[in-house]
Subunit: 303 residues, 2 copies
């Protein structure tokens, strides 16, 4: 079956509206503003941004549908034979940076690629996932997050969640820090293991399970009181987020290499960030426990 | 003549001490702390860090002397034939992030590489330079900075300053922003155009001219009064510095790829940074003029 991009596009735009509406409601203060943008002959997109909300310090929900004559290296990691193919890419990505250090940062992305070379059948694949980055770890939040991730995968086979959970642990990893970005979730790429309709259904299941995974955690943590020291630690840890996105993240590098809209791509960067040289955390503090107990891959569903 | 690394090492360590002593004196409040570090079989270094000084919000002066069995890709940009050669790298780098937005950020680096392959003569080269990143532009500062850069190059030929000035303009460029990082200065790499002694003398000239280029600008600007809005703009512009260092900077990528000491490599990142989505500056404001009048390559010595 040949890929039906208009159906995917409709789904992604509807999900974008749902994300914005639900996040705005959870925030109770801020409002998303929408920028529609076009690049002649290269496609366009719709970027929704919320700044300085009551709960959310910065959030972005990006839809884009772009096409090009040359698939960038960052998109063909596992498909070197497609370097230089013409391509279409359509996707939705979300980032939420809450103000309260007890509320974790969340990221989700779902995307679809078609690449074509002369006299060859189109090659298509899906990619995506979601991952959570706490500043202070709560086991019940991690268990909830991964339980919903498992639920999203369950209809597609028992092996799917463990595979894509492990892929997230492997992918969201800062090699130079020897540290995971957060507690992971799901990550998949080059997905064409099932027929088109099943792959598309899987992508929708991941997209549809993001809010049920995240919003209960936001509700549980958003009114916890915090002080300057928790805020300082949050801003410091956000530095790791920047390091990951600019040094390793395939979507970010794809966008920057391809010449995408920089403001939409880098909306993922946190609003306030600090770097201190060689900051040593007090042993046994909650801050030190984050790394030891939460930023190392664990089987959260075995707890 | 075969390269004499101990002489280079002595020069770099002496210059490091001078940098710290002079910057500390200019600061008048903060103090550098020194970390000596070793990696077994991979060399070591000396990192000097100053935080929360009176004038300097964060500064780092790094000496390192490392060796390895496999030259990383980032170091062999122009020398693919040396991929996999064993190597030694010795260098000094400096970064100063002042607190006052009217004082520019400064960076300097000088380095020496030797690469060896079995049954081949050692290949050596020098690299380095210095560049200035203002938040608010002052023409007289730019002219002074480039005049000292020219003075550093003058004994080595009239063509040297224009060449390495242009290389800095080309190198310190954020492609995804279509914007230069700052007003440039000098950049050189793969330097072996003269004999070893002359190349080493040139590297020393660059190293010795950094403080005369920078300190008069610090003195001129450090007592200018500023408010929240200038500080906000400084923290926002520092985001560009982070983007450059993590996405493009060869030294940073070399260090991270090779598995260097992360805290020493990333000491270059600013202490407080902000990213706002699609911030629009007021037309004709000092903030808007920075980009138009200062972040586009100019011949500052023709003014």
């Amino acid at each position: 079956m040949s890929p039906d991009i208009s159906t995917i596009k409709h789904y992604l735009l509807t999900l974008q509206a749902t994300f914005c509406q639900q996040l705005q409601q959870a925030d109770g203060g801020g409002e998303f503003v929408t920028d529609n943008w076009q690049r002649s002959e290269q496609g366009g997109g719709r970027t929704c941004a919320l700044a300085e909300g009551a709960v959310i310090e910065k959030a972005g929900v990006n839809f884009s549908h772009v096409y090009g004559k040359k698939l960038p290296a960052a998109a063909t990691h596992q498909r070197p034979e497609l370097l230089d193919a013409t391509f279409q890419a359509i996707g939705l990505s979300l980032i939420v940076h809450p103000r309260n250090p007890y509320v974790p940062t969340a990221h989700a992305n779902i995307r679809f690629f078609v690449a074509e070379k002369p006299n060859q059948a189109p090659v298509w694949w899906f990619g995506g996932g979601f991952d959570l980055t706490p500043y202070y770890g709560f086991v019940e939040d991690c268990v909830h997050w991964h339980r919903v991730a498992q639920t999203a995968c369950q209809p597609f086979g028992d092996e799917v969640y463990p595979q894509y959970k492990k892929w997230a642990d492997d992918y969201f990893y800062l090699k130079h820090r020897q540290e995971n970005r957060g507690i992971g979730g799901l990550f998949f790429d080059d997905l064409h293991r099932w027929d088109f309709n099943t792959c598309f259904a899987f992508m929708r299941s991941v997209g549809d399970h993001f809010l049920p995974a995240y919003l209960p955690i936001v509700e549980r943590r958003k009114n916890m009181s915090y002080g300057e020291s928790e805020r300082k630690f949050q801003c410091y840890r956000r530095g790791r987020y920047v390091e990951f996105n600019l040094v390793y993240d395939r979507g970010t590098l794809f966008g920057l290499q391809w010449g995408g809209r920089t403001e939409s791509i880098l909306i993922s960067l946190p609003p306030q960030v600090s770097w201190y040289y060689d900051w040593q955390l007090a042993p046994d503090s909650a801050e030190a426990r984050l790394r030891e107990d939460f930023l190392t891959p664990r089987d959260w569903l075995a707890l």
